[in-house]
Point group: C2
Chain length 154, copies 2
Amino acid sequence: MLRISKLTDYGIVIATHLASCGGPHPVSDLSAETEIPAPTVAKVLKALARAEVVTSQRGARGGYQLAHRPEDISVVRVIEALEGPIAVTECVDDESVCSHEARCNVRANWQRINDAVYAALDGIKLSDMAEPGGARLVQLVRSAGEANRARIGV
Amino acid sequence: MLRISKLTDYGIVIATHLASCGGPHPVSDLSAETEIPAPTVAKVLKALARAEVVTSQRGARGGYQLAHRPEDISVVRVIEALEGPIAVTECVDDESVCSHEARCNVRANWQRINDAVYAALDGIKLSDMAEPGGARLVQLVRSAGEANRARIGV
DNA sequence: ATAAAGAGGACCAATCTAGTCTCGATTGCT
DNA sequence: AGCAATCGAGACTAGATTGGTCCTCTTTAT
């Protein structure tokens, strides 16, 4: 688990698709190209538009396109647009709910774990996702693993 | 979001607690010490026992203790015990459900993202969580962030 | 004017989650 | 041997979340 929602998955797929072709794409086209049902595509894109990941053009010949260059949009942007801020635990998201505060050593550490996950996802851009081989990604993941292993002394 | 479940959060808290004190702890004690309701503590520990993160001792004077040294148990072990394998998307978890396979550039890349998240979490051990200041964690997170930034060229 | 688009939000079914409870199996102590 | 303390397995419920659809209104190119 530790899963992103299906809608977010769709969001990445759609955004990645937009990253590879330029002009405004109407929902109907995107639905056909990604094989995701049109109402769902529409729902996802409305959320992405609100978060300014994509821009919309109404009316005939309108549609959606990315609001920035693919290499300037990380997957975190998309995830946060559809699910709210990255917060691995409730503690991280909303400090008030934790009644254990005083005695909870764990809490401060969760915040750091959260940062680690955020950093990992923020390093991955839509342009990486669009690239089939994902050459840069391979490097990225390998280096993250090595950084950890070095610290741990494995 | 991208959240672990509450039960998993409890699992980490309980496991961290076990990491700081030795002998077998009955559920009743752990419940009192962590302020988590006893039936819930029991549920979590049963799952952790099945995954061999903790060992159990039945009968009077029984209880739970860690199955390995705290520095040999990563948070991933606990998360996977309670939620199943880390799988950021359905694709990563179960390849059969994805009808887009052929045309889905994104899929292989999700696998890599998944690996990155896994690596980030696997580097964090229970002994790190038990440490209040979390000195080693600070280093860990910082280095992960730097590794990313270096790659990206920011 | 008309048709092609998106915006906003209501709505429902299905699934997942948290939490409790019951009953049975072990085990140490007296 | 008997008792009390503990864990093991799993059923069960209420509530929250998610995925997906649909309807109505606004905007805009032709």
